[in-house]
Structures are given as C-alpha cells and as structure tokens.
Symmetry: D2
Subunit: 254 residues, 4 copies
C-alpha cells in the first residue's frame, strides 16, 4: 500500500511559502508526494527556483497544465523524470506526460492529462489514456486530470474506473467536496483545489479580475497577498485501486 499526497495547483509565492513551510513537517506520513505546479512561478508556469524549492520540501513528482509554457525555464526541467506536462499534447511536444516510480517496492505511474472542454484543442485525453493503458508494468496509476468542466472530469473518472488507481482533477483552483471511491475501485475527486492565497480570485488579487469583468479592458493581475491555504488529497493506493481517499487542507494561521 502506497500512501500518497497530491497537492493542488501551487500558485506563486504564497503557494510556495505554505508548501515549503508545511510539507517537511508531515512528509513522513506519506510515501509519495505529487504537486501540480503549473502556477508556481508568479502564477504562470514553472521556473527553476520553484522546482528546486518544491523538490527540496519533499515533493517527488511535479505535474503541470495549460500554464506549462508560461515560463521559459520549464524547458530545463521537461527532461527530468519527475516533471510531467499533459500527455495529450501532440507528438513532437517537448517533455512527457507520464513517469513510473518505484515506491516501497511497488510501481506507481503518475500521469498528467488535460481536458478539452472550454480549453485548448489538444489530442483526445480519453483516447490517449486508452493507448497508455495498453502498456504493462505501469503498476498503480494516478492521473492528474487538468480540466475545466465538471462533466469532462466526471466522465474521465467513470471511463477509467477499475482501470487506474485514482483520477483527481486540477485547474479550477477550488477544491471540490466529492472525494469518493467509484464503483469499480478508482479514487476520485473533481478538483484538488489550489495551494495559494486564500483571499483571492483563483490566486489573483480580486481587484484585477473584478476590474476586468466590469470594464472588459485589460487589467493587471497580481498575486494576492493573504494567508495561504494548501489544498490536497490523501490517497491509500494498492494494486491499482484506491482504498481510502480524503481531502487534505492546511491554512496558514492569522
């Protein structure tokens, strides 16, 4: 049995701050830690400073999303076995979408995929998952499904139910309250939520987004400054199924 912690989209300095302060103290409760870091570098992408900070704090694997290309320093990391971008980018894209790790003598494959509803027209994530699952020796499979629409995320959950250990969503930056085990044993939560400033519009100071919604002209978005919250999901995984799944939340004190 592998005890996994999956940490939702790490957003800017507040996200890195709460993660690097909190994770080391609880790291030994988990066998493996995955973090979505598509917003780690000031809200846009992954840079070297952020990658190093996350790995140092105890993260074992980094996943990304639509903001993969937001910071050019990501190209120095896309060949690292521990860094994944969505698997359904077209053939010829830098980086890779899955990686298999050895954890406590068991195999654990982490996959990152991206949805298409209200998002970029990548390759079909359902078809790509079908192809991936033809491989052997993947062990237990954890999918970070970075997607906007709840319908696409839930459909992916049932599509993979009984075929992977877990499907957990990211991208909306708001944790959902639906952690559960699907009928055939796959752990599922629609969205892990964000690891970043609590008082914010999905990470940004509300002033920018509100101005944008009201006036429809460009407004500067800045990372919100408030106490931060770490949002994640804890899973106990065995034989490519989930035995237990629960939300994990830590908020910086006032």
């Amino acid at each position: 049995m592998i005890r996994l912690l999956f940490i939702g989209d790490v957003y800017g300095k507040p996200g890195r701050r709460v993660l690097t302060a909190h994770l080391p103290g609880v790291r030994d409760q988990f066998d493996f830690v995955i973090a979505n870091a598509e917003n780690a570098a000031g809200g846009f992408g992954l840079n070297t400073e952020s990658a190093k900070a996350l790995f140092k704090a105890g993260v074992d694997c980094i996943t990304l999303g639509n903001h993969t290309w937001g910071n050019r320093e990501v190209f120095a990391w896309l060949d690292d076995e521990r860094v994944l971008r969505p698997i359904n980018y077209p053939l010829g894209t830098a980086g890779k979408g899955f990686s298999t790790f050895e954890v406590k003598g068991e195999r654990l494959t982490v996959v990152n995929a991206m949805g298409r509803v209200f998002m970029e027209a990548l390759d079909d994530p359902f078809a790509v998952m079908n192809t991936l699952l033809e491989r052997e020796d993947l062990g237990s499979i954890f999918l970070d499904f970075h997607a906007e629409a709840t319908s696409e995320k839930a459909a992916m959950g049932y599509f993979l139910d009984g075929r992977v250990a877990a499907v957990v969503g990211t991208h909306t930056h708001i944790a959902t309250a639906d952690a559960r085990i699907l009928p055939k044993g796959t752990g599922y939560q629609t969205d892990a939520g964000m690891t970043g400033p609590l008082e914010s519009v999905i990470g940004a100071d509300p002033e920018g987004p509100i101005g944008r919604f009201l006036l429809r002209t460009p407004h500067r978005y800045v990372v919100a400054e408030s106490r931060a919250q770490l949002n994640g999901v804890v899973l106990e995984v065995e034989n490519n199924r989930t035995l237990r799944i629960a939300r994990y939340e830590y908020t910086e004190p006032h």
Copy 2:
C-alpha cells in the same frame, strides 16, 4: 437571524425523490428554503409536477439557470413570486430575477443571476447587481450565482462582499469545499453541488457522456439511476451578512 437552506440543482426524478423524502423531516430546522430547480424536469428545466412537488416538500423559493427554458411548462410559473430566473436576461424576457420575502419579520431578497464565462452572452451580471443594489428595502440578500467558471464566481463574491448576505454558486453540479465568510461579512461557496444521482456525470448516466467524449457524435443522455444525494448550504443570515455558513449533504442509504 434567518436560518436558510439553499439546495443545489435538483436533477430529474432522483433529485426530486431525495428532496421530497428528506426535506420535510428537517424543514423545521430552517426558516426559509431555496432550491435551484433548473434540472428538475428530467434534467431540463422546470415543469408543473416538479414545481408542485418541491413547494409541497417545503421549498419556499425556486431559482433557475441556463436550463430555464428547457421545459415549456415553466411559463406557467414565471409569474409566481416564488420562482426566479436569472436576472440578467435582457429586458423583455418573461419572468423576473429577484423576489423579496418576509421571513420572521425580516426582509429577505433572493436573487438569481447567471455568469457569462463559457456561457450565454446575457447582460453583465456585475452591472446588473450594481443596479439592483441601489434599491432600498431589499433586506438581507441571497444570490444564487449560476456560473461555470470559478474565477467569475469568486470575483462576484468579492465584488459583493459587504453588500449582500451571501453569494452561493450553482451550475457545475459538484459541491465545492470552500464555504466561508469573506472579509466584509458575505457568506460564500463557489458551488452548492447537485441534488441528484450520485453515480453520474453531473446527473446523466456515464454511458452517454463517455460515448460523446470518445466519438463526438450525438449520444442519448439519460438520467442516471443510482441512490441520490442532496447537496446544499446552510446559512445563518442577519442584517445582510452571514454569521455562519456550512455545507449540507444528505445521501440516500444503500
């Protein structure tokens, strides 16, 4: 102080079943009950049978959303003081978007509005709320903000913080785990979730949506048959602020 129960999108027969079975037994714990019923009639809109069933079970006010027009019988209900469609439909649209009730000697105004990100281009919900709030005698204001994007919902929360009692989202059919009181006293939760079949893709049997995602050709969507879950939010409201907010969830037993 008004004790409010807000019930998320009631979906088809399973949604009506769990609501009508559960609500009467707990109705006296609340002073006022609001239910979003845009999916009450087989997933699409509101019909007379559903409206009557909900009111009989103890619902005091019905809100709707993008599925308002899904069933023609809704037109028989749009003049009812207890039935609201999104307020930001253009001038000339049947129905109304807010209604003021007398609850325990206090005024309570319920508003229904719809977001525009990834949705229909209605009038600007932010501007419409500004206009509405110029009125006097609205008392405490509860907004059901029916929207897709977490950014638009969070922006509305902060936009109205300190100006309304509560902003609770609907439409995604998945409850979010972020119920809280914003800095200036407004209760907020990004999405109340759905009241409908638990094992489903936002209400539908997974087979239809999965087929649609895989093949991109039309597939029949049917209401999922599984035990149902009621998802809601409980709020204690006073002087146009929220004193307490918490998720409310009831699942039919196996």
Copy 3:
C-alpha cells in the same frame, strides 16, 4: 486537366431547388462536381431524398461537416463511396473522410475535414492531413475544409500549399472574395459560401436569429423563403496543383 465545380453548403429546400434547376444545364462544362450537403435536409444534415436529388442533378461527390449527424438517414449513405464526413472524427466513427475517383483517366481524391477553432474538439486536422498525405496514388487532392475561423482555414491553406491541388473552406455560409493560387500552386478560397436562400441569416429566416440575439431565449429557426443563390468555386486541376480558380455564383431571377 480536371475541371471541377465545388458547390458550397446546400441549405434546405431553396438550396436543393436552385441546385437541381441550375446544375443540369451547366453540368457538361465540368468533369467533376462536389457539393457540401451538410444542411441539405431542412438545414440539418443529409437525408435520402436530398442525396438522391443531388446525385441525380449531376453531383459526383457529397461532403458534410458539423451537421453530419443532423438527420438519421445519413447512416444509409455513409458507406457510399461518394459520401464523405469530416476525416478527423475519431477512430470508430461511421463513414469515411476521403474517397478517390477516376476522372478522365486521372485520379482525384476528395477529402473532407473539420476545423477545431470555435468548433467541436475532433482530432487535429493538420496531423490527420499529414498522415493522409503519406499515402500514394491519391492523385490530385481536393480538400473541403469545414471550419469557422479564417485563421485556421488560411493556416491549412499554407500548410498544404504544394502538397494538395486545392483547399476550399465551407461552414460560414458566406462566400469569400479571396480565390487565388498560393505560392506553391495550391488553389485556395476561404469559404465557398452557401447554396440556399439569399435573404436569410446563413439560411434561416432572420426573425429567428434576431429574436435569439435580442432575448437569448429559444426561438424557432425556419428555412428562409426567398430566391436562392448557388455559391461555388470552379477549379482547373492538374498534377495535384490548381491552374485556375474562380468563384461561381448563380442567383435565381426575381
């Protein structure tokens, strides 16, 4: 040299009327006639009556688009060598996306593909065309690229320039005035336009769409009744290049 006539989206009865009345009289000026018929059956899809009428009037090959599935009778025609649906529907979809014909002793391959910008998330049409072009014996290739955005259509034109005989767009229902031969010899026109009622909103009586834009509630769309216009493109094709390309337009008299 093959003299081709490509006829833009045939829309409802007015479209069939102008095509069946006009085409037989000019049919002998062309070696091969292709018609996009995705709107032939009352605006939505292809039915048996329409297919038979078009073939009888002199059409040699029918292409489709996003409305392929609008009429169930299409399934009786998808195995016909002369009927194509967009090639980039996922594997497993009924029908096929290209067909090779023998015309005056030369090979002519007609392809139908669909864009993704502002449309359904099909497989990548650029990648699919790359794969198709690895085949031998396709002869001269004509692509009906059914797409919304001018950027995607123009990009496809340059992407295939020198590799296919012609790329002509459909779907917007408005003919563009940019017929020309691209630098490497591929004939190109952004959109062939519609074959249907002239006084209409892309085929429909204006009352429906105007009501819809003003009120955002459902409005009935009916096929406009007005004199019809046939919109097409004439091409002279040889050795997988275009020697001449020009718009073709015929309008019913008052």
Copy 4:
C-alpha cells in the same frame, strides 16, 4: 449623396504602406474615408505613428475592435472626435463608439460595434444599437460591425435594415463576396477584409500560426512580409440608405 470608402482592418507596416501609397491618389473620388485600424500598430492596436499616417493619407475616421487596447498609445487618441472604439463596451470605458460628421452639408454618423459570438462578453450590440437609434440628427448611419460569426453579422444587417445606411463587417480579415443592398435599403457586406500582407494567415507570417496549430505551444507571430492588399467597400449613401455598394480592392504590384 455621400461617396464613402470604408477600408478593412489595417494590419501592421504592410497595411500602412499600401494605404498611404494608394489612398492619396484616389482620395478625391470619395467624400469620406473610414478605416478600421485595430491592427495598425504591428498587428495590435493603434499607436500615434499609425494614427497620424492614416489621417495624413486621407482617412477621416478610424474605427477599432477587440484589439483596441493592444497599444497604450491609443489612450492619447480616444478623445479625438475621429477615433471610435466599439460602442458596446460597458459604461465607464474610455473613448466613445460613434461620432457625427458634416459631409457635403449632410450628416454622417459612423458607429463601431463589436459582436459577442466567439468574442468578449460586451454589452448586447443589438440593444445598444436600438438605444443609439432613438437619437435624432444622426443623419446617415454607417456601422462597422466588428464580429467573428457570419450569423451575428447577417442578423445585425437585417435587424438594422431600413434603419441605417449601411452595415459592413470587419474582424475576420477576409473580404466576403456578398456586397448587396438589403430589402429595405441598407447596404451590407459581411466583412470588408484586411488591408495588409496578402501572403499571410490573417496578417501573420504563416509559420507562427501553423506551428501553433500543430504543436499547441506558444509560437512567435510576426507580421508577414509580402506585397500588401488594400480591401475596402465603396458606398453611395443618401438619406440613411445605400444606393450602391461594391467591394474595393487594390494589390501592390509584384
């Protein structure tokens, strides 16, 4: 009778080059010249250099679009009576959406509006036009309707037919071949096309957009270098109706 020339989206240096070289020589054939210049400054917005060059070459009025805010220098021009941004930006937006000119003793009102289908959620352009048309003394009205979808543009044409002199579309950068007078006397063309590099993907060198479509990662877009084409529409306007409308096209020689 006013003889109008409307020039489609001026794109970057090639667009300014063909306009400033060609317009002065034909300027005396027209009473008034309007140019959409939303892409004048390197493809994005309007800067001082571009504005001055256009006015000097004989342009009387500049309209904009979704790229209005692409260059900060535009703010120096938004108070100029000759510079218009889309009228349906929300209240409080800098600039204005219409301006009335005195031409040969007659009044001519130029309006700029933006569509919402596949675009930013501005205020409803149909409702805003209704409001504008309640004003008196507008004289003959010319609308540059900057919109993506042919359905929205055609609907606007019929909506305003008999109420304005002309509705001409912009934004797609490809001229349409449908210039005509609608049943009640309003001149109409779905899109005026672009004034910019002919061999391009709506202005950009094809390499950038093709790379973007193939790989879905960011690609640098550069203004295409090729001979340029001026696309426009000529109209003869009287008493708020159009007497004659025709496409106007000039291409730089090889």
